[in-house]
Symmetry: C2
Subunit: 192 residues, 2 copies
Amino acid sequence: MTVNAPTAHLNGVDRATLFATLDAVKAQPEIAKFQFRASNTWMSGTHSRSSFAGFFGATQEMEHRHVTVVDADHPVVLVGQDHAPTPVEYLLHAIAACMTAGLVNVASARRVPLRSVTSTVEGDIDLLGILGLGADEVRNGYQTIRVHFDIDADADETTVRELLEQSRRRSAVYDVLTNGTRVDIDVAVTAS
Amino acid sequence: MTVNAPTAHLNGVDRATLFATLDAVKAQPEIAKFQFRASNTWMSGTHSRSSFAGFFGATQEMEHRHVTVVDADHPVVLVGQDHAPTPVEYLLHAIAACMTAGLVNVASARRVPLRSVTSTVEGDIDLLGILGLGADEVRNGYQTIRVHFDIDADADETTVRELLEQSRRRSAVYDVLTNGTRVDIDVAVTAS
């Protein structure tokens, strides 16, 4: 008898590993301390490029399976060359991806099969803020971000809504975007 | 006499276009209202994919020159397949890219030639929060983000520090990450 077989993997999540990971963290909470990193290089104008390689977690230095490189730029209408999305658009990707990953994990833990999850994110921003042309009440960042999910699941609507709500409650990106976090900046200058 | 020639372009920024854009916004502030967007699709497990295509700005629908596609996943140690960086790592890219673009624009406006700008960003996060295993004081998101810039410029150190400080004051991503913003979530469920 293979008790776990029917739901050992669900929605692409290895449930046994998921629960084993939770147990490991309960037994040794310091393995939950992570540090993520990005390195960015200015290309030209408003165009820059970041790479993600290593991070710290589970008490050790770790490497991603692949180094990922992503660019950012401003669109032409904002005096850039539009080589890539704007920095603020990556915030929209981050919230969609974080809540989707959380939703899938929660669904898998609760044995809810998902068929599809898509989302669209919109962020409203008045550039009078960053251009320094607005009154004091015009902020630099997004005024509002809206996330719309379309979820097809083998469960009733109330169950699916609860999955999404639990994902929101445990989302790292949702927390940072709604509550803010401390950002320290320092600089080493080579001037000549 | 071509007055603007020596500094018409500086650091890859078309200064004439930069100032013309500022003038245009002063004359017609409603062109500064933008909406950025991302569309995300769940792939499997914690892996999802976003695309950036269109946005609204300058009173009209606009398209990026290229559609950009980026993925996110969890690392293997966090029960993912590590197809891509985590959602929270994209926040680090966003702050580095936003402050770099702002720095370059401010430097160009002030006629400061830049030689190189690189930055490294670190974000500390205790995953007890998102795992639901922490006490109430363990937040889901980053506890602190640190951005370190290395800037080589044809200017004295005080001038360069002021450029970076002005970039911080006008950064959309810095504002969102430090002050937070409203995030509304809704869902359409296909349940069966």
